[in-house]
Structure formats: structure tokens, C-alpha cells
């Protein structure tokens, strides 16, 4: 498909990748773009970014067929960047899986010429081969709901697209960083400004880092091909470890924030944090419960643990640093932040995800080395006052 003069519908239009895509579609291709944004009361910086680029903002839910039907009318191509990010795990899954299904079914009904879907390499799970081929199927996936939900979203798309005879392409992305990126840019930058960040096993896991404009390149290349239901992986040109990726942020900040810890050390920190938190909150919980007028009435029916958790759960979950890491890189009393336990496998994964298929069939060639991508990211981060 020649994109010039065409109309695109971008879900996740207020998000990191969707936002950059919209800028490129508008400025480099002159396309008409409709961008789906959840609602006016939640429309923040990302929605304004899309509006500034000239997108028409469509407020509504991915689960609302009427909104989707109206918005998709007259569109040629769908770029599906959205997934569930708010609410409970069940609510997020509903958006990621059911929302994708509904969008694909509606798009197929309206004769959309190509549906580009963003997936994730985390859907391949752990214990992957040294070089993971695109069609690798792992019988044992990680216990990370996001990875499961994204995979099930892909399956929902495939079924709806095949049923409706709609061309589609799936791009499974590595760890995308760049201006406005949350998970792998503002997240670590924000953490490392105030705390030390613990990386598992020396941070030698492979990050599959990819600069956002390389992702956009892959999306554009996919869009210009026929959508035959293929899956492609997208990562940057280099093999970048987590230590290298986050070390780039350390260098920007002029800090020494990375701490190498083994899984056992992390586990000890988590247990220590838990014990310390429990020692602190149990007396507080008892005082609060005694002071609660409804407590006596509810005490007979409500399990004590549930009541305590409801009142103090957030405190219990906040990580603290009761012990100094053995291999802390600097005398530094800042809090140590641990990667969430369910994501440890992702950070510990030594596998390299093949982009040969994307290279051969799409002509994808990542253009930004880590140094080049980070140089642009740093310029943005300084302007966005993320770096003092």
C-alpha cells in the first residue's frame, strides 16, 4: 500500500509508539490520522502530542463497537498500538484481548486493507534458544500477564482477520526506548534519579533494545507490504545488555546507580523488606483497627489479614533496602529498587531475537545504534527536565 493520501486509524494514539507514529504519518506521509484516546478526563500529554501533530482525536474505548465503527469508517489502515494499561489485571486483559478482537472484527467488516498489530518478544517466554526464530513456540510461558495477554491478543486478531479475510501483520517488539517512552526510558530515568536500581545477574541479560524510530520504520515497511499474517521481530542493530541500556541513563544522569544482584540476593532483600514492613505496620494496623468504629461489627465476619492488607497493603508492597548489596558499585545510601519479580526472567534472558525475517521480507534495517538512539533520547530528556 502506498501510504500517501491514505487514512490511518491509530489505537494507543496517546501512547509512546502511537504518538511517534502519528507524528511520522502526518509529517512524512501527509496522511489523515484518527487517533483513539480513552477519554477526556484521562487525556494528558500524549493526547496533546497527537493533536499537535494534527491527528483527529477519537475519544472512546477499544471495547465500544459503536465508537470503533464510526472511527474506522473511511480508514485504509489500522495501526493497533493500544493494550490494557489501567485497572485490574482482568480489566487490562479485557482491553488487550477482547479489545483487539473487537477492533479486528470491526475493521474486517469495514474492509480495512491492512491491520498492523504490535506484539512483544516477551510473549516467547523464557528458556528460549540462543537465537530465537520468529516461529518459535514456547510450551512454557512466563507468569507475566502482559506477555500472555499480548499473545492471546495476537491470536484473537489472527482469528478475526482470517474470518473476515483482512490482511494483517504482527510485529513483536523488543524493549522500545526513546523520547516519551515510559517503560524503558522515563521509568528507569526517574528511578535512577532517586534510587539505585538492582539488575539481576550483572545485568548481562539481553535487552533487545530498539529505538522508537526503528520501530516506526518497521511499521511503515510492514504497511507498504501485503499483510499475509506474518510475524516479524523488531529490535535494534546491536546486542545490548540491560547493563548497557540502563548504563546509558546512568551516564546521562552522571550517577552510578546500577547495582548487580543475584536472584538469591534479591530474594533476601524482598524477604527483609517484607519482615521490616510487617514489623512496622502490624502495631499500626492494630491501633487503626481499634479506632475504627466499624471494626467491632465487622471483626466477626472479616478475616483480620484482609482488613490489615486493605489498610496497609501499599506500604507492604513498597520495596526498601534493609541490607547493603554486596556488590554495590558505590557507597550510596539511596534506596535500592528491584525489578518486579515476575519480570526477572525478562531481564535475565540471554537470548537474541532474530530479525532476519524482517530484514529479508520487509527490508527492515535498524538505523539507530544504542549510542545514536540514546543521543536523541538524552536531548529530549534534558528538555523534558528528566535530567537535572
Amino acid at each position: 500500500m502506498n501510504l500517501q493520501g491514505k487514512t490511518a486509524f491509530v489505537t494507543g494514539g496517546s501512547g509512546f509508539i502511537g504518538g511517534r507514529l502519528i507524528e511520522v504519518l502526518r509529517r512524512q506521509y501527509g496522511m489523515r490520522v484518527k487517533a483513539l484516546v480513552r477519554g477526556t478526563t484521562s487525556a494528558g500529554g500524549g493526547a496533546f502530542r497527537a493533536a499537535a501533530a494534527g491527528a483527529e482525536i477519537v475519544f472512546g474505548s477499544l471495547l465500544d463497537e459503536a465508537v470503533l465503527s464510526e472511527a474506522l469508517a473511511g480508514c485504509d489502515i489500522v495501526f493497533h498500538c493500544a493494550y490494557g494499561t489501567h485497572g485490574s489485571a482482568a480489566e487490562q486483559r479485557k482491553v488487550t484481548v477482547d479489545g483487539t478482537r473487537l477492533l479486528a472484527q470491526t475493521a474486517a467488516k469495514l474492509g480495512i486493507a491492512h491491520f498492523i498489530h504490535l506484539g512483544t518478544v516477551s510473549s516467547y517466554g523464557g528458556n528460549t534458544p540462543a537465537l530465537v526464530p520468529e516461529d518459535f513456540v514456547n510450551p512454557k510461558l512466563w507468569a507475566w500477564p502482559y506477555a500472555h495477554d499480548k499473545l492471546d491478543g495476537e491470536a484473537a486478531l489472527a482469528a478475526a482477520a482470517r474470518g473476515g479475510n483482512m490482511p494483517y501483520t504482527i510485529l513483536r517488539l523488543g524493549s522500545v526506548y526513546g523520547p516519551y517512552g515510559a517503560a524503558f526510558t522515563t521509568g528507569p530515568l526517574g528511578t535512577m534519579r532517586r534510587a539505585r536500581l538492582a539488575l539481576v545477574d550483572q545485568g548481562e541479560g539481553v535487552s533487545s533494545a530498539v529505538y522508537v524510530d526503528d520501530v516506526i520504520q518497521a511499521m511503515l515497511r510492514a504497511a507498504t507490504k501485503d499483510g499475509t499474517g506474518q510475524i516479524y521481530m523488531v529490535r535494534g542493530p546491536d546486542t545490548v545488555t540491560w547493563r548497557e541500556l540502563y548504563g546509558a541513563y546512568d551516564a546521562m544522569l552522571g550517577l552510578d546507580s546500577l547495582v548487580a544482584m543475584t536472584r538469591d540476593e534479591m530474594q533476601r532483600v524482598r524477604r527483609g523488606a517484607w519482615r521490616k514492613a510487617v514489623r512496622k505496620v502490624v502495631p499500626e494496623a492494630l491501633v487503626a483497627l481499634k479506632a475504627s468504629p466499624g471494626f467491632r461489627a465487622a471483626a466477626g465476619a472479616l478475616p483480620l489479614v484482609r482488613a490489615g492488607y486493605a489498610r496497609f497493603g501499599k506500604k507492604l508492597l513498597r520495596p526498601v533496602a534493609p541490607v547493603a548489596a554486596k556488590r554495590a558499585v558505590a557507597a550510596d545510601n539511596r534506596e535500592i529498587v528491584l525489578v518486579p519479580e515476575m519480570m526477572l526472567d525478562y531481564f535475565d534472558n540471554p537470548s537474541i531475537f532474530s530479525i532476519d525475517k524482517a530484514r529479508n521480507e520487509l527490508g527492515y534495517e535498524p538505523a539507530y545504534s544504542l549510542a545514536e538512539g540514546m543521543a536523541l533520547t538524552e536531548q529530549w530528556a534534558r528538555w523534558a527536565r528528566l535530567i537535572p
Binding site: 487525556a43 500529554g45 493533536a51 523534558a384 527536565r385
Partner: protein
Amino acid sequence: MTPVRIAMVGCGAIAELGHLPGAAVAPDVEVTVLIDRDEARARAMADRFGIAHVETDIARAADHAEAAIVALPPHLHRPAAETLFAAGLHVLMEKPLATSVADSDAMIAAAAKADRVLAVAMMRRFARSARYLKALIASDMLGPIRRYHAASGAADAWPSRSPFTFDAAQAGGGALISNGCHDVDLMLWLLGPIDTLAFRSDSDARMEGNCVLECRMRSGAEAIIEVSRTCTLSNEIRIEGERGVVIAPLMGEAITLLPHGASADLLPDVAPPPLQYAETMAAQLADFAAAVRGERAPIADGGTGRDMIALVERCYAEAKPLAFPWDVPVKIAVSA
């Protein structure tokens, strides 16, 4: 003293989060009626803030009040003001005053014809930090002002109940008029009129997410205002004078003054006190009430609002592209 009876016209986010909490702690005013086309919303707010009456028609405002706060999307400001002035009410208009100089002039004329007050809600002028800055500059303690730099940016969602801020026709523009009007107003209030300006925007359709306004003031000072609604910036003003530097929040309770030669080590390493938002809004209402009682002109009147819109129109007319160094065309590399 009998409080001025106020009609709150529009029950959106700024009414809920700003004007009504301010009125609740302002002895000079009493909000007697909420007016919104969404009656259920108005009634829920009335219950929450203890307000006696709810109406859906602005024409009923005079039944309950002698003055009104108007917090509607900007394209509705002029018709609302004309209706209220014709009914004999005074008006505190939410910013921006209007979406054009023509509408601003019409509102000023309508206020004059009805002999009623037209104030515009430049509420940052009522923050202690702004008062300190005004006093400091007026006292000449800093000496002649050389440079002024405001960085104003918020990426957080403002819980707007309608999408008017995404429509230039309704909002009058993007970040400059919706958010930056406060920053422009403070600059004009503190430094006086502009001589020359350069304006850069990231939108070619008055829907900028980011913009930079560079001015040379008639006083000779150079001023820069950066406004973003895609990123959270420092939200500080830095003013350099011949004798020292002052740093202030855009809206807060304290400022930091560093006379030249003084050591920054003397500054206390403690967080500044949090903004007393409701009290700041209450101060604005007290100013409006004093104007309604005929004691003095409001601190920001229709003319203030009009001057700001004139400057915004000039910016949009002269806008140049704002090119960020990281925003380069996507490289479509040639495949090996």
C-alpha cells in the same frame, strides 16, 4: 459585610477543583446557584458543596445572584458574558477571556454599557510567590531585569469534562492560549509591555503541544517562556537582575532570592511549603468581590484579558516551526 451572591456558570473541572473550593473558604462571596446544561452533574456538585440552587439555563442566573463566575469552553465566553451583562450581573471570566480580540472587545463594550465589572481569572497573580516577585521587582532590589525564563509544562491529564481543549475553534488555540496564558500574563504583569517577539510552535493548526515565546521587553529585558502540554517541565520562573537572581514556582508560597555575591550554601535544604490552592482562589474571589462592591478595579480586568489575547493572536500570526533536535525524519535505511 454581606457576601456577594455568585452564580457558578459551568460545572467542569475548574469549577470543581478551583472556584468552588475557593468560594468555600472565601467570606466575601457566596455561591448561590450552579448552572450547567448537565443538570445531574450540577446537582451532584451542589450537594457536595452545599449550594442551594441548580439551573440549566444561564438566563436564570439573575434570579439567584448579582455576579457570576463563567467557566465554560472559551468559545462560549462572549455569548455568556453578553447574556449576563444584559441581565445586570458582574462577571469573573475564566481564562482565556475569549478566543479573539474581536470577542474581547465586544465583551468589554457589553460590560461598559451595563456598567458592570468584567474581571478575568488570572489566578496566578494571587499566589504568594507572584506577589513576592511583583514586590521584589517594584522595589528595584534586583536592579534592572536582564533575563526572564519561565518553563511551564504539565503532561498530567486535566480532568476536563469535554474535549474542547482539542479543538482550536473552541479553545482559541493550543498550549499557548490554554496553558501559557497564565505565563504570558505573569510576564507582562511583572516586566511590562513587549517590544519584539518571536514565537515557535510544534503545530501548524493552532493546536500546539509545545511552544516557545521569546520576547524583548520595552524595559530591555529578554524573556523566554516555554510551554508544554506534552511534558512536565520545571514549572519555575528564573529572573536575573543586575544585582541578583530570583527563582520562583509558577504558583506557590515561597521564592528563592540569591543576591549576587551570596552563597547558595546559605539556602535551606528544605522543601518549600505546598501551594494553598483554595486560599489562592479565594483571594481572587475577594478581589472580584471588592470590584463588585465598587471598592476598586479588579487586579485583572477585561483590558488585561484583551491584551493577552492580542499577544496570542500576534504569536499565532507570526508563528515559526518549533523544531526539536530529536524530532528528525524517520530513517528508512537501505536494506543490505
